[in-house]
Symmetry: C2
Subunit: 152 residues, 2 copies
DNA sequence: TATTGTTATACTCTATAACTATA
DNA sequence: TATAGTTATAGAGTATAACAATA
């Protein structure tokens, strides 16, 4: 089929950095979701698993706060990770559990981390080292300064 | 109440630029959604309205393609904009309509654009002019290079 | 009183499939 | 055949409210 190039529309959002940030993030997330589909986890659940792996013994509420995921929303994620045999709940204090990865969860977390690293290489390969470092710095600063909007 | 500072967890995602991008975007979006709540439009519907304002007479499919919103998803947005008296459909070619803003839609679009500009000022005020310009450039590049992940 | 985990519920955004009408 | 609009439906992700059990 012949691809007809459409005339560009006027883009009134072009100069809004927030819109560019949203589009760049959406494109990167779509790429990552695709890369993770072989592990049958969503990007969010993947980050939860990596967080548990790096911080064994923490409660799901604590993990959720570190990722800005509310208690009510992280509950079904943990349940899924447990059902899939990736995470185990250890008794903690009667109202909460300490979360740890199972042997299978450890392997999966390692593969996921590698998948994410490969994904990063592809998505950001067009940036030179200096630009990459500066982008990392700016994004962390923006996140820190505006994270309050994500909290109650 | 005394605020207890929690010990920081190990963050295995810290060096993933894609994660930082997602967090920075989420924080900015939450801030924008809050700023737009007085206009009773979501960020997505707001961008659709601004796009129609800047490109009168285009079809909703055309507007949707420019914003990476699928036909099936933009249909109810346009219906809402029409019900709220912000957008009018003009006969085009029998299977499609040319979309234009009503007088009320034009005023609303103007207010929304101002709200977005104010929002940007707050969210990005910590960046100096040079950093701001470089971030804009990098985000556009990333969007362009990775947009294919958003298309079928 | 505050915190943890849980369920119910709703809203936004996105995705596919299927249908009608028109080009 | 391809495109436009629509509807139905499903899945993430996120939000609040409420509840029981525990600290």
């Amino acid at each position: 089929m012949e691809t007809t190039i459409e005339a560009e529309l006027v883009d009134p959002l072009e100069d809004f950095l927030g819109y560019q940030l949203r589009c760049a993030s959406a494109a990167a997330m779509a790429h990552l979701a695709n890369a993770l589909s072989s592990e049958d986890v969503s990007p969010s659940v993947a980050t939860v698993l990596l967080m548990i792996r790096a911080n064994p013994g923490r409660t799901q509420a604590r993990i959720g706060r570190a990722l800005s995921i509310k208690r009510a929303n992280i509950a079904p994620m943990i349940a899924t990770l447990e059902e899939n045999g990736l995470v185990r709940r250890e008794n903690n204090d009667g109202r909460s559990f300490g979360l740890v990865c199972t042997a299978s969860g450890i392997k999966t977390a390692r593969r996921i981390k590698q998948t994410m690293a490969d994904h990063e290489d592809k998505v950001f390969q067009s940036l030179d080292a200096k630009t990459y470092a500066q982008l990392a710095k700016v994004l962390k600063k923006l996140r820190r300064r505006n994270q309050s909007a994500l909290e109650a």
